[in-house]
Symmetry: C2
Subunit: 87 residues, 2 copies
């Protein structure tokens, strides 16, 4: 099953930014920048990833709930449970 | 002030792996892979970043505490407080 939700384009853009951010943190480490600054930047990347993950999960739940309710599909409940553990 | 702790080489390697992992998650999104799989992979990258950040902070505290105690430097206390918020 392939899934393309409306939010995926935005999530891809956010993850690509996080990837660039991680690269710049590696540069900071290699340049011997202060640990406090590096820890702060790592925290920012972590938050960006958590936020992208939440958007993905919420959007997926919205999308699936809509279909499950429409089709009376009770098997979707197990999948909701599985994906909510990533919130 | 530049800082190069012994652990930084390992942290750089872990962050580079996380960067590659993020790239592969973007590929998964573009290929329309199931959201549950993508959420799971995002969770793994998040954990890798949190773990690298904790190693950085712990190592920095060890390093700084050693110097602060050795030099009787009380100003280091403010920096300990600042960096522990990233744990």
């Amino acid at each position: 099953m392939t899934t393309h939700h409306a939010s995926h384009k935005d999530i891809i853009a956010r993850l690509k930014r996080a990837e660039g951010h991680l690269r710049s943190i590696v540069d900071m480490l290699q340049a011997g920048r202060p640990c406090l600054d590096i820890a702060q930047q790592l925290q920012a990347v972590e938050k960006a990833i958590v936020s992208a993950k939440k958007t993905l999960v919420h959007d997926h739940i919205d999308h699936c709930l809509e279909h499950a309710v429409q089709d009376g599909d009770k098997s979707a409940i197990a999948e909701f449970k599985a994906i909510t553990k990533y919130l």
